[in-house]
């Protein structure tokens, strides 16, 4: 059951990711990204990390991508015009793609044994409580630094928005 679900979600994630690049209309691309996020949330659920899965949906699919689509709607984005690709891209692209795939597969096979146990086991029981404890005990400094970084970004956006042109 879990193996079947894994392949379903993995196929959904990969298919949507490919569609994201292939699609020429920005809104369809954004929706494909939402589908990728949803499929990833399903994979997290299979690993037993419910909190991460739901946060993935709330934050990425429910907040960030909604804003993306909102802006795309506001700007009334039209379909992209495909420009001719350069000859270098056409000739070198596919061989390099194969090379990259080989590299990724060989690294994964060398670094990871075939029997991988997920680290979500560490968060057994009340998932949310453990995540909170880790965030505010072990990783307090990175957490605070990240929030200051976001505050700076927000302030930058406000300053740029207030500037009189």
């Amino acid at each position: 059951m879990e193996t079947i679900l894994f392949f379903v979600f993995a196929a959904l994630a990969l298919g949507s990711a490919i569609n994201l690049i292939r699609e020429s209309h920005p809104i369809y691309s954004a929706l494909s990204l939402v589908a990728v996020m949803g499929a990833l949330a399903g994979l997290y659920l299979l690993l037993g990390a419910e909190f991460i899965a739901v946060v993935q949906v709330i934050v990425y699919a429910g907040a960030i991508m909604v804003l993306f689509i909102f802006v795309l709607m506001l700007l009334n984005a039209e379909e992209e015009v495909k420009i001719d690709r350069t000859k270098i891209a056409v000739r070198l692209g596919y061989p390099l793609l194969v090379l990259l795939a080989v590299e990724i597969i060989s690294v994964l096979r060398a670094k990871f044994p075939s029997e991988i146990t997920s680290h979500a086991d560490l968060l057994n029981g009340d998932n949310t409580r453990e995540v909170g404890r880790m965030l505010f005990d072990n990783y307090l400094l990175p957490f605070e630094v990240t929030s200051v970084l976001m505050l700076v970004a927000i302030m930058g956006a406000v300053v740029m928005g207030k500037r009189k042109s």
């Binding site: 929706l31 429910g62 949310t128």
Partner: protein, 401 residues
Amino acid sequence: MTPFATFLIATLIKIALVLFVLLTSLAYLVWVERKVAGRIQNRWGPTRTGPHGLLQPLADLIKFIFKEDPTPVAAERLIYFGAPFMALVLSLMAITVIPFGGSVKVAGVTTWLQITDLNIGMLFIFAATSLGVYGIALAGWSSGSKYALLGGLRSSAQMISYELSLSFSVVGPLILAGSLSLRTIVDSQAGYWFHVIPKWNCIPQCVAFVTYLIAAFAETNRVPFDLPEAEGELVAGYHTEYASMKFAMFFTGEYANMVTSSCIATLLFLGGWQRPFDKIGSFDWAGYIPTAVFYALAVILLVFSLKRARLVERIVLPVFATVCILIGSLFLWTPFHDPAEGVFWFAAKVLFFLLLYIWIRWTLPRFRYDTLMEFGWKYMIPVTLANVLITGFIVAWRTGH
């Protein structure tokens, strides 16, 4: 039977039951809304189809099915057809984690009165409602009409803004309960102060209760926050170009959202299925309230049926009265009483919130768009944030950290 098979069968039965009850009550919620609206405006509301217009939902459904369903030429077809499904499915999804009562034992199987109990139930509901914005935004965009697009934009901007204060107002009760599981949150509200006042969260969290209600009204696009469909400026907002069953889906989704947010308000602030009255000594008088209510309803129906001249009413209303007497008598039977009493109180509280929704709709005028945004960002969010901080400090102080 294996445990998995029993689990599967119990879950399927519960899904079917919840879906049936939910969809029927949604249909009759529309009838209630029209009746109450009529009374508030000093007119009758629906009276023609069936006694007291009781068959009106059925007539509406038939009309929805047989209506012509034109598709705008400029529509993005795939999304245009998908958006109503998205809106309906996502709003029905949230109901799966809502507990309606304690546990029930049928044919040797004990099961919770809830489709599934997640330890992150509250977050699951937020996930479903935050995705609900897509249905509305995409419907507005894919219709290929400027009124629908503007309605969709307004709607999504409003929902994103008020989702923040909605989530913040929920945090207070969550801190008090120390859990995200809706069942634990309800259990934490058991008991009474001085044997009179129930220990519901709406008393220590009164600020969060009010802000939650305001934000929930905005989230469900109801008056006074129904700007997305301000008919004077935007025709019908994001669903201007939808007709027939596709419109019915948006409509049902909107009412389902209303029911969900009333259920959450009940669970978080009004103690879920806990009864509001304590026992006096060892006498469990509050246990007889459901019976009394149903018997009273039967008497009212009988009196009404004698006053009416139409033959249909003289036959139908006594039938309803008999059903009420039967249900009331069932409540005297202990194996039925214990699980059903919780459901009774839960339903009563949800009904209270739904009537509040309708009452406010016919009382308050609509906000202006800029005042709506200003209210959301400048008043709601600071107040809810302060509530979270104060609750957190008090809980930390009381537990001695």
